[in-house]
């Protein structure tokens, strides 16, 4: 069952990513960053880029739980969109729902459900915003679009410099007419091309059901032994679709999604611990530090170990922990919640990243993998949070498709 949740959590993130693909690359935080001076006030812009509660409201009200068929046979929303759009913060949610208290049967159940949906949509929108910022602003610097100084040469400029363009120019100087200038796949695609061939929601189910073994990736052979196994079935029917979706999703989101799939395939979540989707990757070589190796291959375990080693086993924390669940301890926890430790971990990450800049390329590659996995771990944490929510509240609504396919 856990495996199904995982697949659907990924699907959930994946689907939310499709919506944001239209944002790429110009609308990262509502602005273009074509020249260096446009970075002025970047912190304020990021600070102000918070989830729009009207959008959260709109999404929450789309759930079928809040629709009924009226006397004319038309489907109408139980709650008024107009009222919901007046929400300014989460605290007003209860006030909004209380407007309907007298008019709706089973009000309390619906009220609870709406609050859950609202919070789910809020979390998803926050996740989308974070992914959009973290990925988009990094990728405009290496998407092959010419930098602004050369904008006369064509294509849309989206950043003050572009590493792919730099390398192309060097290639041309070195090899003249024989220069090879690979075009970054995503950057050259139009929105129409990106979405062409992707099953829509309407034909998605048919697509899921009609897949045959011939169409599946070769790795699926590894799951022959699991023909009657739900995990194997999921792999055969679902992962191809997920991969195709993820392949056309923009930027890091796709990378993260694929990495998630690969990791789960590797650690046996899909039933075959021997399968390694990353066999071409060299193992980390960062002086064989146990935490580095762990981090590269098992981020969740590594982070837990990291927290255990550097935080929970820290002397003063032990003293605190041994005092038990006292009122004083609760107060300490509250203050600790300011996340001093988090700051330190982040500082450590950043410091480690900078150290590698000064080291040789082999170390750099190893450390970059570690850093990627640390970022990856952040996403896993989000996923785990989503899983918890999905397991408790949302999953029954999403169960249909895997049941058909297996």
């Amino acid at each position: 069952m856990k495996k199904i949740f995982i697949v659907f959590a990924i699907l959930f993130l994946g689907l939310s990513g499709i919506a944001q693909a239209t944002d790429y690359p110009q609308k990262l935080i509502g602005e273009n960053f074509t020249t260096l001076p446009k970075f002025r006030g970047i912190f304020t812009k990021i600070y102000a880029d918070q989830p729009d509660l009207t959008e959260v409201c709109r999404r929450a009200l789309q759930w079928p739980d809040f629709w009924i068929t009226d006397t004319d046979g038309e489907k109408v929303s139980l709650f008024s969109v107009e009222n919901c759009e007046k929400l300014t913060n989460e605290e007003e949610l209860s006030n909004f729902l209380n407007i309907y208290k007298k008019n709706i049967k089973n009000f309390n159940t619906l009220k609870d459900k709406f609050e859950e949906r609202f919070n789910l949509e809020l979390e998803l929108l926050k996740t989308e915003n974070n992914l959009r910022r973290e990925t988009g602003l990094a990728y405009i610097f290496a998407d092959g679009h010419n930098h602004s100084n050369n904008s006369a040469e064509g294509t849309t400029s989206d950043s003050p410099f572009d590493l792919v363009s730099d390398l192309n120019e060097i290639d041309e100087i070195l090899f003249g007419e024989k220069a090879e200038k690979p075009k970054p796949l995503f950057a050259e695609k139009t929105e129409r091309e990106i979405f062409a061939g992707i099953p829509t929601d309407d034909d998605n189910e048919e697509y899921w059901l009609n897949q045959t073994a011939e169409k599946l990736p070769s790795q699926s052979d590894n799951f022959d032994d699991y023909k009657n196994n739900l995990a194997g079935g999921l792999w055969r029917s679902g992962v191809k679709v997920l991969r195709e979706k993820l392949n056309v999703l923009p930027l890091y989101l796709g990378y993260v999604g694929k990495t998630v799939l690969d990791k789960f395939a590797t650690d046996g979540t899909f039933g075959n611990p021997g399968f390694d989707a990353n066999t071409s990757e060299k193992p980390p070589t960062s002086e064989d530090k146990p935490e580095a190796i762990e981090l590269a291959y098992n981020p969740i375990k590594a982070l837990d170990a990291y927290v255990q080693k550097y935080i929970l086993e820290e002397e003063s924390y032990k003293v605190h922990a041994n005092e038990g669940d006292t009122e004083r301890n609760k107060q300490v926890d509250k203050v600790l919640d300011i996340k001093d430790q988090q700051h330190q971990i982040i500082l450590e990450k950043l410091s480690r990243f900078e150290q590698v800049n000064a080291l040789n390329s082999e170390n750099f590659t190893a450390h970059r993998n570690i850093l990627n996995n640390q970022m990856f771990n952040e996403y896993l944490k989000l996923l785990r949070e989503k899983l918890r929510f999905l397991r408790e509240e949302v999953f029954p609504d999403l169960l249909d498709k895997p049941q058909h396919s297996s």
Partner: protein
């Protein structure tokens, strides 16, 4: 790592001290201990070495304002504006100087090669931020007894991600503690928005509850914004350094390419002028 451990340990002792004076917080009226309130600014500075001064009586600046028919929490001044401005200026300063320093570093290395793209100074900072520079803030934090954990020539430079993160996280930690204290305090709220009428007083209590929720929300929001901007800074500077060095390689190659072209042209002259000549027949 050792440095960080030491810092956590020392911070923890300070937090314990802070908590001991915070203990009466759970009382019904949720006001801060008077001694703690008096010494708040000092306690926070000892822990975070911050350069913004905080007192529990300072206004946060968060107010509900009408915007497009909605009431929206808006930062109208006070400490929220001071914090946001300072962090903004520090990031702008970091971006601008990291770019200019990198350019200079590359230009110094490839002396004699003309790289026009790197000669132009980047101008990112707002003129209002003139006095708020990373160097100044790091100096001030140093005076407040802050010892950097960023060791090594490259990492300890003013605009390294490590130092930028350290400097800004110090300011963030202080601001978050200030908001936490404000969310546990009624006195300062009553002083700031004093009402002599009972109805208004009751409304004020409701308002203070809502305001405190906003303070707690801002603790999360400010942290998220700082972390996102730090991640961006780290990625940007890393890529910019590669870009600057690629430009240097490109311009050096161009020079070599031009020289090579001259040699090539010279060697082609003889066969073109005397097409039938060869080494045997002359």
């Amino acid at each position: 790592m050792k440095n960080i451990k030491i810092k956590i340990s020392r911070d923890f002792r300070l937090i314990i001290g802070l908590v001991l004076v915070l203990l009466p917080l759970n009382s019904a009226n949720a006001n801060l201990n008077e001694k703690f309130r008096e010494n708040f600014g000092k306690i926070v500075r000892e822990k975070y070495y911050n350069t913004i001064n905080y007192s529990v009586d300072d206004s946060t600046g968060w107010e509900l304002k009408e915007q497009d028919g909605k009431s929206v929490w808006t930062c109208t001044g006070g400490k929220c504006a001071e914090f946001q401005k300072k962090i903004n200026c520090l990031f702008d300063d970091a971006f601008e100087n990291a770019v200019n320093q990198t350019n200079q570093e590359v230009l110094d290395y490839v002396k004699g090669v003309e790289i026009s793209e790197l000669k132009q100074k980047a101008q990112i900072k707002d003129p209002d931020c003139e006095k708020i520079t990373l160097q100044n803030i790091q100096d001030e934090q140093g005076i407040n007894d802050f010892k950097s954990s960023c060791k090594g020539q490259f990492i300890s430079s003013t605009y390294s991600t490590c130092r930028v993160a350290e400097t800004i996280l110090n300011e963030l930690g202080a601001y978050q503690n200030y908001l936490l204290a404000k969310s546990e305090d009624n006195i300062s709220f009553s002083r700031e928005f004093f009402e002599d009428n009972e109805y208004k007083r009751n409304k004020l209590i409701n308002d203070s509850t809502e305001a405190k929720k906003q303070y707690l929300k801002d603790i999360e929001q400010s942290q998220q914004a700082v972390l996102d901007t730090l991640t961006l800074y780290k990625d940007f500077i890393h890529r910019y350094r590669i870009h600057a060095w690629l430009l240097a390689i490109k311009h050096k190659l161009k020079k070599i390419h031009t020289e090579w072209f001259k040699v090539q042209k010279a060697t082609e002259t003889y066969p073109i002028k005397f097409p039938k000549a060869n080494s045997i027949g002359g």
